[in-house]
Symmetry: C2
Subunit: 261 residues, 2 copies
């Protein structure tokens, strides 16, 4: 039985790369075999065979003690080779460091990944109360979270609709406080204000503020954002943080244009 819209050919490659994407966000702890079986929906022998193939290429490595699977050296090598073309973190790293230092809160760089946003890097500030709602490698649908919403609002309307159509099925189950009509209103407010605000919509009390990063041609490269407890993101501090973000976003956008005109 053929899926009409399904991928054609090399299915095991798709499955292997699905596993790779599942291991990515697991961070320091890695992923166990059953984790991956559950998350992927594949059978155990299949997962194991694919992991062995990924391990042969060093894209995945297995901790001999815990038996957990982690991203391998080859992922890092490929990333280094891809960075002249796609490197956002290299370009934005200084800006994120300044954001964390100047605000005292936690700063993030986020990239678009299809209809989702993925957090590339997280830099903690000095303020003692820190939200851990967003960690490196975590991904949410576009519009869910401050940096993520900033990117969605920066897309042309046609693309916004395509993204909403893509993510709508997932929203109710995973993000009860979100729905397409709420996202559309969020986009309006974001465009009017010039920055995106997440008023504790994912984790109560954990607020976020973000701005999009655009390339020279106007396309969205990613977003910068800050997270803090609710009390640190009320007016007038919200406006101060927005100004900080705008300043750093301008700096990053200048560097983006310089790199790839």
């Amino acid at each position: 039985m053929n899926r009409m819209t399904g991928p054609s050919g090399a299915q095991s490659v798709d499955r292997a790369l699905l596993l790779l994407r599942l291991v990515g966000p697991r961070g320091e702890d890695g992923a166990s075999l059953v984790d991956l079986v559950t998350a992927s929906g594949l059978e155990k022998p299949t997962v194991r065979r694919l992991l062995m193939a990924l391990m042969r290429s060093r894209l995945i490595e297995q901790d001999p003690a815990t038996r957990h699977y982690h991203l391998g050296e080859e992922c890092y090598v490929l990333g280094a080779l891809a960075s002249p073309r796609h490197g956002l973190l290299e370009i934005a790293a200084d800006a994120v460091a300044r954001l964390a230092r100047d605000s005292g809160d936690t700063a993030f760089v986020t990239m678009r990944r299809g209809s989702f946003a993925i957090c590339l890097h997280r830099q903690e500030g000095s303020y003692p109360i820190r939200t851990h709602a967003l960690t490196a490698g975590a991904q949410h649908p576009l519009g869910v979270g401050a940096g993520s919403l900033a990117m969605l609002a920066a897309l042309p309307d046609a693309e916004v609709e395509a993204v909403l159509a893509d993510i709508s099925p997932h929203l109710p189950a995973d993000y009860p406080d979100y729905a397409p009509h709420i996202l559309r209103a969020d986009i309006e407010r974001t465009r009017a204000r010039g920055h995106a605000l997440n008023p504790g919509r994912i984790v109560a009390g954990s607020w976020g503020i973000g701005v999009a990063l655009r390339r020279g041609d106007g396309t969205v490269a990613g977003a910068l954002s800050l997270a803090a407890v609710e009390s640190r993101m009320q007016p007038p501090r919200e406006a101060e943080l927005a100004a900080l973000l705008a300043r750093e976003a301008a700096e990053v956008e200048t560097r983006l244009r310089r790199e790839r005109p």
Copy 2:
């Protein structure tokens, strides 16, 4: 007909990842379909189907104008997620920048990739005559080139023999000036001197000098190296460059220990 030692299962995954590794070093120009057919030894439809699978996962992208294939955004994302575990470039970037600035020559960070060395990053110095014998993504067998030889010489003898056995078949065809007995002598000299020297063995007139980087547990993390024209690497300058390298290597090794004790 089964290969006795061959990989078992998920062959198309191996082939897809072979293509990924072939696209990596092509840098800015990318790779054409025929390039990849030739380099991989696979049939054209097979290569195309695997590339389409890689493109579905955004590990590869195709330039619509040139039709050439490049590393995709997903490679970069995976690299960013793997860098807390494997990030050598982040740790060594400042040291490489100082090396290029202080010496005026071109500086490199290299990593081990099985029996080969792969160049992660290249930083040009101010001196107007620059060798382009080594670029980011290029790989040579361990022992071929200065940084590469520094790594080989830093391995335990048993591992050196395993590497030599692995690469010996390839040497005569691709590197006429190298052979196992020459590499063994090079290793001796490197261990005695404390640094590796490549006296224009790959490209005449293009000399290199390198030192290994060791982790806290003594294993080899990579190498730092410098390349210059022959006249800039004679005594006493050779000793000066070796001292520069030793200083920066010590700095990097300190940071390596701090990151992952």
